[in-house]
Amino acid sequence: MTQATFNRALRPLALASLAAALLCATSAKAEERPIVIGGSVSITGALAVDAAYHLHGLQQGIEDANAQGGWLGRKIELKYYDDKSDAGTAVRLYTKLITEDNVDLVIGPYSSGITQAVAPLINKYEKVMIEPEASVPDIYVPGNLWNVQGIAPSLGYLEGVLPLAKSHGAKTVAVLALKSAFSLACDKARLEQVKALDMSLVYDTTYALPQPDFSSLALAIKNAQPDVVVVCSYYPDAVGIAQALQRAGYAPKFFAEAIGPAEDEFTKALGPIANRIISNTSWWASLKTAGNAAFIAHYKATFHQDPDYHAASGYGAIQALGAALNAVKAIDQAKLHDWLLHNEVQTVQGTFANDPNGAAKKFNQYLFQIQDGTRKLIWPLADAEAPAQIPYTGQ
């Protein structure tokens, strides 16, 4: 090898070391007067729409807490980065928030999948993290000590559908589920529920996204003639399956889909087909939970849109965190964690209370139905705004 070649060979290395040196130099600490809460948010990517509600919920929660004088007499600030709906990026960002930005507290990201990827990291750095958008049960196990669930577990998604249907005489059930963490948990729970309620399961399957064609699944459902169709879905498949069922010319008496029907785009996409579809939520505007009316009013004023349950769980997580901090009176991760597991907080979402593994145990699940373009709470009957309209017509 010639001298010149070797010189040239070293040039990229020199550049790289320069770059590394620059990076080290920029990692200087910032002034930390306010209490900084750090988190990643899916600003872009597949989860951006729902994640925006999550972010707004957090922001509103912090704004309201600051309006009441902050925590421990200090102002609260949210520091967040875009994780691009990507788990790997989120892991890097949480590392950055904890080790470089030295945030005081961390808050969970949007979606169960991303939280699952971040959870081990939180454990490693021993930071208590309320996870307002991670509904899957798998995170809250003894090995994952520092994770505290801030949303109703996905086992409870569509929980009321089968009892409701049974009370109207329905006997046969079809269950479909998307292959993703939360929907499979929902799937498992519903399949068990079918047995427990002594109903008969006539069809079940799982599918993966993206799947443009649901016509053969719809045909199989039509063939099985179930009274109830339960779909543990995200948004696109919720739309696709409703379209496919209508195209197959089949309308079950009860048609319930998990995530999707809450969005405005759902009714835009489906038109009259969307009418009388049942879905679930862990929060509703009409509920008399702690601070709910104020939350809705402030949120509407700030963001000029109605909050949804993602916003409510984000807001509720901040409420719970504030309660813990005001009780512990110090930013002490272990004490905060301990307090959260042993105390209850009344939030807009209901009672924030967790079992020793961190799983939420007192949030309620509700059902709503799309009734002529508006969404009405129909279950549990005690909170219902309107009676369920039966049957689903598919027109």
């Binding site: 872009t44 990517g45 597949a46 989860l47 951006a48 729409v49 479909l176 292959k179 399957t205 799982t206 599918y207 993966a208 993206p210 799947q211 443009p212 064609d213 649901f214 016509s215 053969s216 699944l217 045909l219 199989a220 063939n223 948004y235 696109p236 739309v239 696709g240 379209q243 209508q246 195209r247 197959a248 010319g249 969005e263 785009e265 835009k268 996409a269 489906l270 038109g271 009259p272 087909i273």
Partner: protein, 289 residues
Amino acid sequence: MLVLQILINGLLLGGMYILLAQGLNLVFGVMGVVNLAHGAIITVAGLFTFWFATHTQLNPLVLLPVVFVAMLAIGALLQRSLLEPLAGVGRKSELLSLMITFGLSYVLVEIGLDVFGSQYVSLPNLQTTWSLGGLTINEALVAAGVLGAAISGALQIWLRHTDSGKCLLATSQNRIGAVACGIDVSRMRCIAFAIGSSLAAAAGVLIIMVIPLAAQTADSLTILAFVVVALGGLGDYRGAALAAVVLGIAQSAVGYYGGGDAESVVPYLLFILFMILRPQGLGRAVQAQ
């Protein structure tokens, strides 16, 4: 009756696939370029249609000719500025144009995300379902299938019975021969890409009424279209139509009997199996027998 219904479902699905794949095939046939931005064009056109229809309350089908013509111009512009400089660098050009359209697809998808958001959308037009003696047929799928077939037929007639079409076909069959015959091959490439993009955009306008689309679905549409084209034999127009129907029926049958997971693997599995066993494509394989 059940088998018949599965066949009909498959046929209609196949019609939609023809719609998706036609433009990609034309571009490949004439330019030897696999346009990886094909799905992005479909998606952006579909999202635009959704935006238009929800804001104006007009029937989205009125957009079809407008989008088609607009895309002709955009397609020609893209071909002239991005792809034409690469034509004629020999073996390298295939790889380089693949990279260009790869980059283009990401640019389009991001524009789609920024302008229209990441939400899946669909339009509730064409929702009538007909019942014929126990068989059910849906208007949207029929519209997509019929239009797919119609566009395919029109393309065939144009390619085989008009002078400009024959020039294009000749270019796709033998580039050097076409040059020798005095055909302006560079112009043919431009026309092919413009029409190919327009076909993609037209597909987008229709597809938004059939399945939910979002900016991020672009990739899977490109792959689906490519699988159809590859199964039919690259650049083989009738083969692609046949492949679309075969794929549609296979997916319907597998989906019915094997469930959703099995169905989603069908295109890829068929593709790999076919490329190894019958690399010349379905169309030519059938012709040879």
